[in-house]
């Protein structure tokens, strides 16, 4: 066992875990952050994706001790912490039925967030490529892609409104 300090969704947490525990195990089993899903548990499906320093990584393929001193964002931390307002990608998934069984959804949304942060004006092909590591067992890819494209539009116009 080792003492691990993680920075998750802006808050510092200390947790005791096996030295070889994966980040996914610590998030779900030690911290109760079950928004992060574990499906294949071998790096194939992308359901366990979280963002580390803004980049998507597979939490089932990451040692929790390697995630120390980094900013971890899970799906629980994506909505505005003060107002609770959903992120535009989350909103698009709700409004356009981007989820069916929901298991791939947190990973899809976080992967899409990291992607749109760097590519605000993507084509459908770009989105499909960015999400290629996230499998949807319901086969809802068409709608998921539409949701991300829709969110990209909203995020662009949203920025204009603020200016």
């Amino acid at each position: 066992m080792s003492e691990i300090v993680l920075k998750i969704n802006g808050a510092q947490v200390e947790v005791k875990a096996a030295t070889t525990a994966t980040l996914a195990e610590v998030l779900r089993e030690e911290l109760g952050l079950t928004g992060t899903k574990m499906m294949c548990n071998e790096g194939e499906c992308g359901a366990c994706t979280v963002l580390i320093n803004g980049e998507p990584i597979l939490s089932c393929m990451t040692l929790a001790i390697d995630a120390q001193n980094k900013d971890i964002l899970t799906i629980e931390g994506l909505a505005d912490p003060v107002t609770g307002r959903l992120h535009p990608i989350q909103k698009a998934f709700v409004e356009r039925s981007g989820m069916q069984c929901g298991v791939c959804t947190p990973g899809m949304i976080l992967t899409a967030k990291a992607f749109l942060d760097e590519n605000p004006d993507p084509t459908e092909e770009d989105v499909r490529h960015a999400l290629s590591g996230n499998l949807c067992r319901c086969g809802n890819y068409r709608r998921i892609t539409e949701c991300v494209l829709d969110a990209a539009e909203k995020m662009k116009t949203g920025e204009k409104d603020e200016k």
């Binding site: 080792s2 030295t19 194939e44 994706t49 089932c60 040692l63």
Partner: protein, 289 residues
Amino acid sequence: MTPPKVLTARSVEEAVSLLSEYGEKAKFVSGATDLLMQLKRGEAVPECLIRLGEIRDLDFIKYDETGGLRVGALTTIVEIANSPLIRGKFSILAQAAGMLGTPAVRNQATLGGNLCNAAPSADTAPPLLVLGAKAKIVGKEGEKIVPLEDFFVGPGQTILGQDRLLAEIQVPNILAHSGGAYLKQKRRQGADLAVVGVAAWVVMGRKVLNDVKIALGAVAPTPIRAKKAEGILRGRKVDPELLEKSGQAAAGEASPIDDIRGSADYRRELLAVLTKRAITEAIQQAEGR
């Protein structure tokens, strides 16, 4: 299964010293995308894991005109795929890095991990073999530079043994009128291990191919050069007949196996086709340079 003890190395020296202390009971870990899979499956559970991730001076991409390219072993695959320098001058390597795993895996996996796990299908290996890469290896007795061609011993096995670490990969500067291509056949568009991977590299003369190198992935116990296929083309003017011969030769040099991704026969068929295509694309790139 007893979970391994986890140690953290903060310098290359410390890593080497820890490894020589624990010997075959220890294993290095960086991005952990391959290692965690082995642990979860109960394959090769070491007594001790030595974390390398905090050794900052093995994470770099450097270039100069005389020395060529140097990439630290702990450089992530995404850094290689996105590096403007590698994309420009050593595009075949960036191309292969961009085809490895999924976007999330590329954010974690490192060049050293991809090479040291020594999977026959390792995507970065064929491009580095045709680029004439060398490996800088550090051990108790000091450091040495070996051709990457001599680095792989068998599936999952390298020359590193129990007391040495791969520190960096060095690639000589590219020649004028050269070009390369890496083709990876997968079962689907998204992430998958290669059924077959072919890297080709050519240097164009006035009328003939001054030089050519071909390397193959996922069709032998290690990534290999296809030297007979190269010999057929070297110094010759390329025509469809010669390309066909070269592709057939590459297929003959491989020793593929039947597995879940494809049969040995299918892999040989693919090799013949992909070798021709890779050479053709490499020539096109060389002519455009």
